[in-house]
């Protein structure tokens, strides 16, 4: 199967997401589509699988040209996509999700037997009667792949498939993809913003930048060329430079945070028996697969999820069981992963956000906005704009600028998710500045490479339990990955010591 995307144009209002992009995908190969967040990769792939209609251009599949595809038509042509956020039905059972695979709906018996057949062929382990909401990210991915393989997909599109899964799960996935294209008739399109993944897996890469095709290379490709195409010459230079080493703790005096046998009751999960000390100047990374307990810890330390037992002291103040306002008063601030949903008020102006954050300086809001948000944090929007008009990078800049300077403990859940390279660099510089000034930063990132590069110490979570506390010296992606998926324990490896 050969697929040609020809002069595709796709606009969203003012924004041109795809500007005259042409791309050829050949059978038997794994094609990478690289570019930073917001470059237009996902849009192009949604056009290819029929979820979006392009304004201009055509999609040529095995010589037949189509001005646009519908999800049905794409499925009939053998095009299937694994989206970045799983597009499935969480309350429904595994077999029900599988039965609704596109095309005619399968009966219960058909679905179960075909699911079992695909799973044994691919080496997946999925129990048919479990609700999909109870699966891990990797299992949901397996279910989607099983569904697509069963419907005989020939062009498999994967959008950032490695976010939220462990290195071992990533190896399994890559092996499955290589086997998929090995017969020379099928092909894979892999959307990613990580060059290392593309190098590992892809036979050819195309690079998108600001919605345009910025270059295409066949393997083996030169790292510097690809980075320049992705980011432009200036940013590429900084992107290749290793980040400065994480700061050392400023001294082992009073810890900023001390928790002993803490039990945190979050909406969905209860995190038991956490004991932990964090000192000023530390940058602590939390590793774990989604739902492993690290999000609950952040919410618990922020006072959003209740601490129902144990001790929790911040800056020497006992806060266990206290309301979130006491945590704020003690200098604890939290950056949620869902920035728009949990951090901002979509319909309020940026100025209103400043007024809410600094209630006793309401009259100086404009000055604060100009000096702090725009001046120091390089927010690029007007004070009267609504928050829901902000780009992802500007949302995070606004949130950061609203956190007062005397913050003792900064908690961040996936602070760089979905952001462009310049914003990511700015956020880490800012966190290091805060740490150098005496604050402690605790963050969770689904991106293990980022986590290991930025953290001075890593706490690994598995199954709502703190599985290990690793100092920077003993950080190894394989070990952390095994710990966070329960493939090994801290004791078995001797790599760290749980307190």
């Amino acid at each position: 199967m050969d697929v040609v995307l020809s002069h595709i144009v796709k606009r969203f209002g003012q924004l041109i997401a795809n500007d005259d992009v042409s791309l050829t995908l050949e059978a038997g190969r794994i094609h990478g589509l690289l570019g930073e967040n917001g470059a237009g990769k996902s849009t192009l792939m949604k056009v290819l699988c029929g979820q979006l209609s392009p304004e201009a251009g055509e999609i040529v599949v095995d010589g037949a040209a189509h001005a646009r595809l519908t999800p049905d038509a794409a499925a009939a042509l053998g095009i299937g996509m694994l989206p970045q956020d799983p597009l499935d039905f969480p309350p429904l059972r595994v077999w029900e999700n599988f039965a609704l695979g596109g095309g005619p709906v399968l009966t219960r018996r058909e679905a179960r037997s075909r699911l079992e057949a695909v799973c044994s062929r691919m080496g997946f382990c999925l129990r048919p009667d479990v609700p999909v909401a109870d699966l891990t990210v990797a299992e949901r991915q397996h279910l989607e792949l099983a569904r697509l393989f069963d419907r005989d997909v020939r062009l498999l599109i994967l959008d950032e498939p490695t976010s939220g899964i462990s290195p071992a799960q990533k190896r399994t996935l890559f092996a499955v993809l290589r086997a998929f294209v090995s017969d020379g008739r099928r092909l894979v399109a892999l959307v990613t913003h990580k060059l290392t993944e593309a190098r590992e897996l892809c036979d050819a890469v195309a690079i998108l930048r600001h919605g345009r095709l910025a270059g295409s290379f066949a393997a083996p490709f030169d790292t510097q060329d690809v980075l320049t195409a992705m980011f432009g010459a200036e940013v590429a230079a900084t992107a290749t430079a290793a980040p400065p080493p994480p700061p050392e703790p400023l001294g082992l005096g009073t810890p900023v945070l001390r928790a002993a046998n803490l039990v945190i009751a979050d909406d969905k999960a209860v995190l038991r028996d956490v004991s932990l000390e964090v000192h000023p100047g530390e940058i602590v990374g939390l590793a774990g697969i989604s739902g492993g307990g690290q999000e609950a810890l952040l919410r618990g330390l922020a006072g959003i999820a209740r601490s129902v037992a144990g001790e929790l002291a911040i800056g020497g103040r006992d806060l266990a069981g206290r309301p979130a306002t006491d945590f704020l008063a003690a200098g604890v601030h939290y950056l949620p992963a869902a920035r728009m949903e949990e951090g901002l008020f979509p319909g309020l102006s940026l100025l209103d956000h400043v007024r809410l954050a600094f209630p006793d300086k309401r009259r100086e809001a404009r000055a604060i906005f100009a000096e702090r948000c725009v001046g120091r944090f390089r927010l690029t929007n007007t004070p009267n704009a609504r928050a829901d008009a902000l780009s992802g990078g500007n949302q995070q800049r606004l949130l950061l600028s609203l956190i007062p300077d005397d913050t003792r403990l900064l908690l961040a859940d996936n602070p760089t998710r979905g952001l462009d390279a310049a914003s990511i660099a700015q956020i880490w510089d800012h966190f290091r500045e805060r740490a150098a000034a005496g604050a402690a930063v605790v963050f969770f990132s689904e991106d293990l490479d980022e986590l290991l590069a930025q953290a001075g110490r890593v706490l690994v979570f598995f199954n709502r339990d703190m599985a290990a506390d690793l100092p920077a010296a003993s950080l190894d992606p394989g070990l952390v990955g095994d710990l966070m998926t329960g493939r090994s324990t801290a004791a078995a490896n001797g790599g760290g010591s749980a307190p």
Binding site: C49, Q51, T70, P71, D72, A75, M81, P83, L87, D88, F89, P90, P91, L92, E96, A99, L100, G101, G102, G103, V105, L106, T107, R108, A265, R306, V308
Partner: protein
């Protein structure tokens, strides 16, 4: 209290619950597909009028019931056209439709008000109606009860066991995911909205042709649609739970009447008002597990958690935004 009296009370409960159950099941089908039909109350009343008028006109109550179902589907069609295809808010359209249908029903039904007309009569299934205690209630009094139980079985089987039912649930949970898998989402929603409207229309027919026979201003079924809407939410969108909700509401109404006989000293109005707060409190207890305060308490006193019934589950994904507080 004799066994005969108790069995007569149970029979009264099933009889009074029948139309309520149909309306609530109709709304369940509609909401499981992602369409909130707030015109329920107007639909039930208008269909009651249409069913009675047609039954009186052609002398056949079953044709009247059919007309009621048709009227319900027609009102649902208005909602679907505006809400699903013209981009209007289905909540706002639903509200206004309720008021519109009510006034229209009183206006159009003026000619048949307080007139005699046919009704669905009684029915006794030989053999089954002799089953002690429940036999008379289920199989020995009226086709209305059998109809409501048949609808319950049908709706449960359709949602849980059939492939179109699976598609309907999928659309209600995530229209986007369903669309990406090639499901014609709007068409599915149109069909489930029409089916829900038809069931609610049947409920109206059951009122004017059997449970509260005749037509007038007021008819006596005013408010039933609103109760049905509440029962769907508190029943967690599960047909069997929803049916129990309808039976429960009918039970407290019947209990009110029975107590009124037993305690003549109390004001009659009290027994008419009492079912509503009792309903709210009971349904609160049923869904106590969703409350954070209760979960806190259950952590301290595990026995509490074991005593409480399991939660019915949340709203279908497509309408959760309109119904859950989100925090």
């Amino acid at each position: 209290m004799t066994v005969d009296y108790a069995s007569a009370l149970v029979a009264a409960v099933f009889f009074a619950a029948a139309p309520l159950m149909l309306a609530a099941l109709g709304e369940t089908v509609s909401e499981r597909g992602g369409v909130i039909n707030l015109s329920m109350d107007g639909t039930v009343l208008f269909a009651a009028m249409a069913a009675f008028a047609v039954a009186r006109g052609c002398g056949n109550p079953w044709l009247g019931l059919l007309a009621g179902a048709g009227a319900g589907a027609a009102i649902a069609l208005i909602l679907a056209v505006f809400g699903l295809f013209l981009g209007a808010s289905e909540l706002a359209v639903g509200f206004v439709l309720t008021l519109f249908c009510r006034e229209l029903a009183y206006f159009m039904g003026h000619g048949v008000a307080r007139q005699p007309g046919p009704d669905l009569g009684s029915l006794s299934v030989p053999g089954l109606s002799d089953i002690p205690f429940l036999g008379q209630a289920l199989f020995g009094q009226s086709p209305v009860v059998l109809l409501s139980l048949a609808a319950l079985g049908l709706v449960w089987w359709f949602l849980a066991r059939t492939r179109p039912g699976l598609v309907l649930r999928a659309v209600g949970e995530s229209p986007r995911a369903a669309a990406s898998r090639g499901v014609a989402v709007r068409r599915v929603q149109l069909l489930c909205c029409l089916a829900g409207g038809a069931l609610a229309g049947c409920a109206g027919g059951l009122y004017s042709l059997s449970v509260k026979p005749g037509w007038g201003h007021p008819q006596g079924c005013e408010g039933a649609g609103w109760i049905a809407l509440a029962i769907v939410i508190f029943g967690g969108w599960k047909p069997v739970r929803v049916a129990f909700g309808a039976l429960f509401f009918a039970a407290i109404q019947v209990a009110g009447i029975a107590l009124q006989d037993a305690l003549p000293g109390l004001s009659g109005a009290l027994f008419q008002i009492a079912p509503f707060p009792v309903m709210i409190l009971t349904l609160l207890a049923v869904n106590l597990r969703r409350s954070t305060a209760f979960r806190e308490a259950a952590r301290r006193v595990p026995l509490l958690g074991r005593l409480m019934p399991r939660s019915a589950g949340g709203a279908p994904g497509a309408i959760a935004g309109a119904l859950d507080k989100g925090f």
